[in-house]
Symmetry: C2
Subunit: 390 residues, 2 copies
């Protein structure tokens, strides 16, 4: 018994689900908005170029840059991700730290006693020289300063270059605070999204603890379900959903007594009935949240033992009445069980497993899901290194 | 065995943790910002009053309102939460649906063929009459319109009332899109926060399934921990944290075999060692997230069996080295166990329970936590109706 626990505890230590490579959505909306703010700020002030910087881990990072003299991909390539220390020695650092807007009419002649220098490092790299600069702090509604907006090289309507007028500061202050709000919110949203996914990961980890023979099972089911969803033409968001949601398909097993869950031999009819309740209980645990991950996970937990021909459980749903995600996980789950060694059976060979799936196409399984599964089989088999050798 | 499962499944059906009354933070920052946007919009246009409306469940809702002629609490009382149908028949509905800003110089003389009417319903209620109105759609960066900004009664510098000029529309368009971004983000954040709390609730529900005798246990521990934290002077955020985090204190029990977890008699020394691993395993399940709820829950799971005198497990931490939240939950958990009937023991009376706690003050328990617990005892006992009768 202690050994069983040992094994179970080692699973937790490996925290294997982190291998699922949970990724965060970068918000396209936020990016679009920052570009729009830069465009509007340049239009309002007649600036040839502009950059937005945001403070992050003690550095100022470029988050958007535009330049009429350079093409966009060069800018992204040369500047995005660049970092500047937050110190009084750079102009953006000074503006961020003091909260003071600065109008530099001629970067080549800074007044005596100016605390910062104009770095030429990036000018050298881009081949673009900033002669006049307007730098505005990004200020949140609570007064916090989270970065700076820099505008470069004021152009008159006739194209001549001249210093920025001080009225330009007013013209972009509201735009700068809009950028500050957007960035602040992006930050908050990222934290919340991470917190949510971290909690999903905890729940997936719990689900591993009661799974019969292996912690790798939920990882493989997650990875293979994702592959099948992709092959079926699901979009990227939906593929991500099934990746996060599928590891919880057996969470209802927390409620199944060891004597049944871990029984080496065949279950009696009564025991099987008890065992089958894990589908319903899993759905109950996953609650009635509107959250897309939990909602998909609930459908999978409830319906991953339904069969295409209506002979499954708990509700005997038939073909398209079974949620698509559950049809995918149902197939992948059976494949994994068939090719795995379990306490009550030996592992089958790949050929036998495929024969079983084919035989059950249109009976146990959705034929479309089988076809999709077979189309990604080489990729699927990467999760089963031992199987290839067999 | 089937009966045991039955009982466990009923717990899930009751989904009792929803009684914990999870609540959402209303964002103070968002509110402050909407007020600031209204203030700036009024200043930029010389408007005596203004309101922000946002579309929500098919209605337009007031989310902020200001009026120089009324005091703020009257405005909140009379207007906040008011709803207007989203239809072409109201000015805000028209502006929201068409995305077209409207300048109404005289609300008492709308041009022939105007599709909307100016409702006097709220004027009647507030005693304030809007003679000129400027209405601007709230437009997100993606073009979506999510509500409207209305400004009322333009005042000249000398105080005379006159219509808004059309240049006022330009003056507030950027402010209106700032408001749109803020509201859109508030909405996204609320969704993400709900998703996170829903998932925390799932995890708490899982924790209930393996708990020895009662699903009410985690609810009582949560409620009483919250009361003790309050009595210790913790701030509202921290009290909320312990409410959400404490139900997961025994989640590590998912890894303990039934034969030990559900054993009616005393555990052997070896069995006790296995049982004690639930603290460490619980912390491992809860991962290494930065999320405050999960971080606090991890500390509680790991340390709720530590003792003030250093004789606890798993690490033998002493007094202040034990996280405060774990000291609170540790006490509340023992109190709950002592006064509850368990499969291996009868419930103690309240007097006996209190004597045990007092006796263990400074040994098992933090004396400050005991004092705080006793100071809220009447409130604590509301979670133990049977105990009062005993």
């Amino acid at each position: 018994m202690t050994d069983g626990l040992q094994c179970v505890a080692e699973r937790a230590l490996s925290r294997s689900l982190s291998n699922l490579n949970f990724k965060l959505h970068a918000s396209k909306d936020q990016r679009t908005m920052l570009e729009a703010i830069l465009t509007e700020s340049r239009a309002a002030t007649g600036a040839e170029a502009g950059s937005l910087y945001v403070a992050w881990n003690g550095k100022l990072k470029f988050v958007a840059a535009q330049n009429d003299r350079m093409n966009a991909s060069d800018i992204d390539h040369l500047l995005l991700g660049e970092e500047i220390p937050i110190s009084m020695e750079s102009l953006v650092g000074f503006v961020t730290l003091t909260g003071q807007a600065m109008n530099i009419p001629d970067t080549h002649r800074l007044p005596e006693g100016t605390p910062f220098r104009i770095s030429r490092r990036l000018d050298t790299r881009t081949g673009y020289s900033a002669d006049s600069i307007l730098a505005i702090p990004l200020r949140c509604p609570n007064g916090e300063r989270i970065g700076a907006l820099e505008l470069f090289n004021h152009r008159e309507l006739d194209g001549r270059q001249s210093p920025f007028g001080d009225e330009a500061i007013d013209a972009v202050t509201t735009l700068a605070s809009t950028a500050a709000i957007a960035l602040h919110n992006a930050h908050l949203q990222q934290h919340l999204r991470e917190a949510h996914l971290d909690t999903i990961l905890c729940l997936s980890t719990v689900a591993e603890y009661r799974d019969a023979d292996t912690s790798q099972h939920v990882q493989r089911v997650s990875r293979c379900s994702e592959l099948v969803a992709e092959a079926l033409g699901h979009n990227a968001d939906d593929v991500e959903l099934i990746r996060y949601a599928s590891p919880m398909h057996d969470v209802g097993k927390v409620a199944i007594p060891d004597a049944i869950l871990l029984k080496p031999g065949r279950l009696t009819a009564d025991q099987r009935k008890v065992m089958e309740r894990h589908a319903q209980i899993g759905a109950e645990i996953l609650g009635n949240s509107d959250d897309p991950i939990l909602a998909v996970a609930r459908g999978i937990a409830l319906c991953h033992h339904e069969r295409w021909d209506g002979q499954g459980y708990p509700r005997g749903l038939k073909d398209l009445a079974i949620p698509m995600h559950a049809r995918i996980v149902g197939l992948v789950d059976v494949f994994d069980a068939v090719v795995s060694h379990r306490c009550y059976k030996e592992a089958c060979t790949l050929d036998t497993a495929l024969a079983i799936l084919q035989e059950d196409s249109g009976k146990h399984f959705d034929p479309d899901v089988i076809r999709a599964f077979l189309s990604v089989l080489p990729e699927v088999l990467k999760s089963y290194p031992a199987l290839k050798a067999a």
